[in-house]
């Protein structure tokens, strides 16, 4: 199995889906000639031409709206938003139109659009290039929300998203693109949307995370093992629909739960996981459910020391796990 970078796995999924089904198209800012600002769509224009690879104007609402119209007319569009920070103008199209299409049409139409966008903070990305937006869309019934944490999942889940009959918000943590590498199965590797996966078995504390936080949590779990702290790390990977069974099973085993998310703490997606555990795993708990999340400030600061203060790094994760484990 070849080792690929996260971004290459996404690019590969595009190429394979384009080859598999000619209804698949991509549109977005710079997706054609440039191959995407991060390179996710590299090579598509040359191979499939302007009919299927469309450089759009700088108008996110139009990208979403056109994609929805394409889907209604039988295409399978992948709409790329250059940064998740810029998706807000498309919120109305995605929430009011895409997410409700099946419900509104009494099951007559779906809306098979993939809304792809890089989210999350990396060094120096500051206010306009680092937001986490998953909670906005996870709140809306009718749209699936997927956050792959490994290259193999990035490929497999993107393929599943393209084939899904309903809209999927596909979030890629931009920090992972060129740092995270992993084995990616060749050929038609599809990872079903829905199931979470236990990435590391443990007995003392369960950590629930996704995206970059999952990657960091795995690193911390490795660091803590020599100290006798056995951390179970669960990759949530599909935020909607949520795999409750895997989460509850893990809590039943460890009796202690830590939920990590990079977004602001208040009303962040992890609060939903914490609430689920409190409601359905109460009698398994040996300690209060804890959340480790970004501070409630309007954005990631550009200033270096403040950025460090904002980011959830391995030291913060380690100290949260130690506190919860009581060790």
């Amino acid at each position: 199995m070849p080792e690929l970078r996260y971004i290459d796995a996404i690019n590969q999924a595009h190429h394979e889906e384009f080859a598999r089904d000619e209804r698949v198209v991509v549109l977005g800012e710079d997706v054609g000639r440039k191959g995407g600002v991060f390179g996710a769509t590299t090579g598509l224009l040359d191979k499939y031409g302007e009919g299927r690879v469309i450089d759009s104007p700088l108008a996110e609402s139009s990208i979403a709206g056109v994609a929805i119209g394409m889907a209604a007319n039988g295409l399978l569009p992948i709409a790329e938003f250059q940064f998740a920070d810029f998706i807000h103008p498309a919120f109305n199209q995605i929430v009011s139109e895409a997410a409700r299409m099946r419900y509104r049409s009494n099951n007559a139409f779906g809306c098979p659009v993939v809304f792809r966008t890089p989210y999350g903070g990396a060094h120096g990305t500051a206010l306009y290039h680092s937001q986490s937006i998953e909670a906005f869309y996870a709140h809306v019934p009718g749209i699936k929300v997927v956050v792959p944490s490994t290259p193999a999942d990035a490929k497999g889940l993107l393929k599943a998203a393209v084939r899904d009959p309903d809209p999927v918000m596909f979030l890629e943590h931009k920090r992972m693109y060129r740092i995270v590498k992993g084995d990616v199965p060749e050929g038609d590797h599809v990872v079903p949307i829905g199931p979470a996966v236990v990435r590391r078995e443990g007995t003392d504390v369960s950590v629930f995370a996704y995206g970059w936080m999952l990657y960091e949590a795995l690193g911390v779990a490795e660091q803590l093992a020599p100290d006798g702290i056995s951390v179970e790390v669960v990759d949530v990977r599909t935020l909607v629909p949520l795999d409750k069974g895997t989460i509850l099973k893990s809590v039943a085993k460890t009796s202690r739960a830590l939920v990590i998310y990079e977004d602001n703490r208040f009303c962040g997606y992890g609060a939903e996981i914490a609430a689920l555990i409190a409601e359905e795993a109460f009698y398994d708990l040996d300690a209060p459910v804890r959340r480790l999340a970004g501070p409630d400030v309007p954005g990631i600061p550009f200033s270096k020391p403040l950025e460090e203060w904002f980011f959830i790094d391995r030291a913060k994760i380690a100290s949260a796990i130690r506190a919860l484990a009581g060790l």
């Binding site: 009796s255 109460f282 009698y283 398994d284 708990l285 040996d286 300690a287 506190a323 009581g326």
Partner: protein, 449 residues
């Protein structure tokens, strides 16, 4: 199924209750919430509602007997097993209604429900040792008493008992066959949430080397009220470093004005506007300027009370009781006077409710009515200060170049010196003095005070 009825916790500082009168007899059917028994506590008499419906089968504690909170006082037979869970209702209800505790208001830990062992967490956050849900579930599954589990040596954060501790204990217990209580120790008392008044760790211990009774001496049994006063006063003097400040106030104008108008006021308002009402208003105003006087010392810091609820000592034949005028700062003089009138009447009729005597944040005692001219009262535990208003006495005083006969009284403040110092205390008193002396008199209206 048979279920126990327990002596409820009826107030924040009660730890025992006396059975006054059984309102139902064994064999009688009882509906849920129907008055079952009259209970006399330190402060008030209440009718305890039946915690569940069924039949009263046995009375375990006879009338006139005093037992600790939590002691079974009767047995009932209920129709369904569902009632078993309702057994906890009375104490919870009692607490909810009676003790919106300081802890809850301050964001502190809730009032202890079960007496788990008290431990400090590493970060200094005063966390009461809790039994986690999974520990409780394991205890239930293995038939362990919660007290037994709480007494285990905990390995978790702050010494808490964890799931692993219980599993290990079960394992060990299996090893040493059937001696379940071997490892259990008596849990120490839970700490009080900041600001709440709790009884001393144990009943007041008998005085060491008590004076031997001589011929003709008579031992007077302690009433619950006497015992409560004794315990609280001793606790206060033991724990709070008292300091005192006293100033004189010339209330001649105020007295004359009151004398001139009091009949007219009474006719109009239906209550007597007493000097105490003026003192309460003046104190509430001074508290606004010196809020430290309306606080309580806790180990985590000084808890500043938002509400200004002023307790007023009411002398009864059996002893002193403090009734509370709630939100005194938000009430008019007439409003305060009406509250006082109602509290006084209920106190004399033995009809004070729990709410009447709780949540005080500052206290005024009025020994002046008995003629005292200089008093140094003891602070009510859970407060920062107590004001004594002494008798106004006609005295010759120097006014300008002459000597005048004026009504002079002492205002004395006992305060917790941990919280603030003499400078604040005397400024507080001066603020009151200015209010009381600055009144114009004449035809001024009540609302002008």
């Amino acid at each position: 199924m048979p279920v126990e009825v327990k002596m409820p916790q009826l107030g924040e500082s009660t730890y025992e209750g006396t059975i006054g009168k059984w309102l139902k007899q064994p064999g009688e059917p009882v509906e849920r919430f129907e008055p079952l028994v009259e209970i006399i506590t330190d402060k008030v008499n209440v009718e305890m509602p039946a915690p569940f419906g069924g039949t009263l089968t046995e009375i375990l504690v006879v009338e006139g007997t005093t037992v600790n909170v939590g002691t079974p006082i009767a047995m009932m037979e209920t129709a369904s097993g569902a009632a078993a869970t309702a057994a906890e209702v009375p104490s919870e209800k009692g607490q909810a209604a009676a003790a919106p505790t300081a802890g809850a208001r301050a964001g502190g830990p809730p009032t202890p429900v079960a007496s788990g062992p008290a431990r400090q967490t590493a970060d200094g956050e005063g966390e009461r040792a809790r039994l986690s849900p999974v520990v409780r579930r394991l205890a239930e599954e293995h038939g362990l008493a919660l007290d037994e589990v709480a007494g285990l040596q905990g390995s978790g954060t702050g010494g808490r008992v964890t799931k692993d501790d219980v599993l290990k204990y079960l394992e060990q217990r299996k090893g040493v066959s059937a001696r379940p209580a071997a490892m259990a120790t008596v849990p120490p008392r839970a700490p009080a949430p900041p600001g709440t008044v709790v009884p001393a760790p144990s009943r007041p211990t008998p005085a060491p080397a008590a004076a031997p009774a001589g011929e003709g001496d008579e031992l007077v049994k302690l009433t619950p009220l006497r015992r409560s006063i004794a315990q609280r006063m001793a606790q206060s003097k033991r724990e709070i470093p008292h300091a005192y400040g006293v100033i004189e106030a010339d209330i001649t104008t105020l007295i004359r004005w009151r004398e001139a108008h009091k009949e007219q006021w009474r006719a109009r308002e239906g209550v007597n506007i007493t000097l105490t009402a003026f003192f309460i208003k003046a104190a509430a105003e001074a508290i606004k300027v010196f809020p430290m006087a309306n606080s309580v010392w806790t180990e985590d810091g000084i808890l500043m009370r938002k509400a200004i609820n002023i307790g007023v000592g009411i002398a009864l034949d059996e002893g002193l009781i403090v009734a509370v005028v709630k939100h005194a700062d938000q009430k008019s003089l007439v409003g305060v006077a009406k509250d006082l009138d109602g509290l006084g009447r209920r106190a004399r009729d033995g009809k004070l409710t729990l709410d009447d005597v709780q949540r005080g944040t500052f206290t005024i005692t009025n020994p002046g009515v008995f003629g005292s001219i200089w008093s140094m009262p003891i602070i009510v535990p859970g407060q920062a200060a107590i004001l004594a208003t002494d008798a106004a006495v006609k005295r010759p005083v120097v006014r300008g170049e002459g000597i005048a006969v004026r009504d002079i009284m002492h205002l004395g403040l006992s305060f917790d010196h941990r919280i603030f110092d003499g400078a604040v205390a005397v400024q507080f008193l001066n603020r009151m003095k200015a209010k009381l002396e600055g009144f114009p008199g004449g035809d001024a209206a009540l609302t002008d005070f």
